[in-house]
Symmetry: C2
Subunit: 475 residues, 2 copies
Amino acid sequence: MSSLEEGDPKLRGTRAPSRMQGQAARSTEESTHEAKKPFQQVIDVSTGDSHRAGMKPVSFVRQVLAACVYPELLDENNLPLDARQRAHKLLGACTGGSVGSYSATAYGIPYVCKSVAEFIMKRDGGVRSNPEDIIFAPGSTKTLLMVLHLMASGEGEHCTAVLTPMPCPHTLPMLLDMAGLILVPYQLMEDRGGAVDLEELHRALETTRGRCSPRAIYISNPGNPTGHVQDRKSIEDVIRFAATEGLVLLADEVYQDSVYGQGKEFLSYKRVLFEMGKEYSETVELISFHSLSSGCMGECGLRGGYMEAVNLDQAVLKYLRGLQASSSPPVFPQLALEVMVNPPKPEDPSYKTYSQEILHSLTTLSQNAHRACEFLNDLPGMKCQPAWGGVFIFPRMHLPHQMVEEAKVLGVKADVLYCQMLLEEEGVRLGAGCENGQEDPNYHIRLCVLAPPDTLEEMLARLQAFHLRLLERFP
Amino acid sequence: MSSLEEGDPKLRGTRAPSRMQGQAARSTEESTHEAKKPFQQVIDVSTGDSHRAGMKPVSFVRQVLAACVYPELLDENNLPLDARQRAHKLLGACTGGSVGSYSATAYGIPYVCKSVAEFIMKRDGGVRSNPEDIIFAPGSTKTLLMVLHLMASGEGEHCTAVLTPMPCPHTLPMLLDMAGLILVPYQLMEDRGGAVDLEELHRALETTRGRCSPRAIYISNPGNPTGHVQDRKSIEDVIRFAATEGLVLLADEVYQDSVYGQGKEFLSYKRVLFEMGKEYSETVELISFHSLSSGCMGECGLRGGYMEAVNLDQAVLKYLRGLQASSSPPVFPQLALEVMVNPPKPEDPSYKTYSQEILHSLTTLSQNAHRACEFLNDLPGMKCQPAWGGVFIFPRMHLPHQMVEEAKVLGVKADVLYCQMLLEEEGVRLGAGCENGQEDPNYHIRLCVLAPPDTLEEMLARLQAFHLRLLERFP
Ligand SMILES: Cc1ncc(COP(=O)(O)O)c(C=O)c1O
Ligand SMILES: Cc1ncc(COP(=O)(O)O)c(C=O)c1O
């Protein structure tokens, strides 16, 4: 499917055999050749890494973490009082009162799990959340991978498959592949902004009969890379589908705090599930994912995420924890997660700065998304659906026939060639739609729009210059 | 072998089958029942987590990290100049100049790898180290697990086996088990302080014929839990053995900075390998492990470690990196590692404090080890070998026959019962020797001696009180 899925045949068994198992490696690093170029700096908007693009971290998060790592700061006035108080509290929750001590193997810091559960309950209008159902890992990618590994079993028609949206997050095909799972695509409705279509789900499921064994459906909501935000009806449809077909719901909700579309709001799968009544809330297996990396927080480098498991067998939960039994999870991102789910309150000294920063982030995101979408729609051959949430937009491109032919000769996909040329010529790194599972000739590009407006403008100007040049070259 | 190795039969297939694969979970958390006890606080010296026991972190490490996480501190005078300069430099090496950005998938921060390679070269008297051979992961346990997973293959007599010292680090049997490898024990020579014996290696290897397929030998040097430090001759013996038998050397050298025995010094396997000449240095596959968690650094909660691979096939190295391709490694522990391998120099403002702290740590370690060893040798039935490095001591215990019988009735191992009773009665948590792979009736306990001297004294006093009571109870 995506280029990430293809093993590198050069590596298979061509070297002298080693005593170690010389299994094939997969290179995920693209070559950049950034030397001696007509641009000063590469602008990379291919991933959701907004700090890389120049967005600022949330001060309160960093202040608390600084005091946790260097407790001498607790007694000084550089940091706001509530940041120091929080740090003090968090250190009290760490083993040995230090970020330098192991946290409980496989469980992490109970206090943090409790905070997360309270956050979820408040978010979901009181639907109960159990700290024991929260599992922490270094990044939501890791939590998802744990679940995928757990589900993997069988060969041939018994091989576990996961219904996967097309387009999907660009990392997902690789994760499914690493876990040995079969990706069964269901198309999102591009003309409805990336909505899930029930008939399409049934069609996709039909394709699995006698071929593989579907066990789960993955949903990214708010959608990466579509920017779609599901409404209640759409979520109910998916839940009913999962219930009828006996599928586990894997709800990737890392962009829950990044909804900006007019009149749109985030509804969690869990909330909707519980509001559908016991028939569903007591039976449907649901795992929801959240992350430090996402949206306004943007703390990708810290690597922290959690999943909440609903209706999972206790033995399964225990097994999931067991996957981490070799090593306790890092303390630092757990503390950051606690701050994320439990931000300053209106009466706290840091509240004003905190809310201004979040508002600024969301406003930037929203304005950038509109701006980029309009701008791209003015470029010949581009068609961008408006986005309502998340940090990506995913415009469709009509690529000149000659360029598609040239790509074929070069042995690359045409959208990959487009992105490579753009990077070489203008120093802009976008994601090629094929990485999100889009097949030729349904070409797309993926852009993260959470970046400082200046950077966005610069990026759009470079993209425009390149795009227009390209159309001249291939008229 | 150890209690960690035994799956929990309660979990196997007794619950209603779930759509998820309900594989057996393994509980690694012991029950503590610490409520309403005749002690104020539990003293836990069962692991190498010295911060938990009350040791202080190295200030310079924490100062640099605080400034990295909250760069506003770069311009203030709370932190020493060189700490701020280092933070500035490290941030410059981070993608996007922020700890909030992903570092390169599977590679981490190239600057950190370079620093590590330079540290190794200096340590090893100039033997070349290649930054490309350094692989970072969240904890050396993870790096080791990656290697073990890589080696796992085959069934029956083709199943990969690892020669494993007895006693071994208490986490190792679980790691081998998780990776599906067979543990082939070789006894360390207790009467020689835990030395490796060449004849014993040959004997152990003999036991594998027709039973499994040995591919590697694991060594912990300085030894966990023995405290033994190998000399050049001993390392050469092991290297020659590995070369002749075609085994990969897995050298766990996380305690390389914690050697305190009179006249003892740390020699790395790599250095000795290279000083043995090309016949060895160009052929023997060696992987060496180091960690933030170890010894004077003691930053267990940050989760950072690296391995250096020598003579590994490039495809194998690539595959090892590929295991991390799903997710980039956390930035924060990489920065801490850089500080660990590149501490302040004599001309730097922080040098004095830094060297005092390290010296204090090492002195504490050394004095505690002597003190604890002498103290324990005075207790009836205890016999403790002097330790020269690492953070553990591992005294042998003669347990009263009646107690051994009682343990049998209770269905636990006698050393586990000893540790449980000690925890319940005196609030001291030690490690039971069976976790380190010691079989009945060869009973041992494992104690981390890197703790504040007061804590050590308190712990010894409680242990003594318990031990003498026990001997009265079971005369
Ligand atoms: C759909 C989706 N899931 C998860 C993540 C975050 O992954 P992690 O927490 O591993 O950084 C992202 C980040 O971009 C994402 O877009
Ligand atoms: C032999 C050995 N290896 C590795 C480690 C450290 O593991 P990690 O880096 O995963 O914390 C320890 C820590 O106690 C150890 O004793």
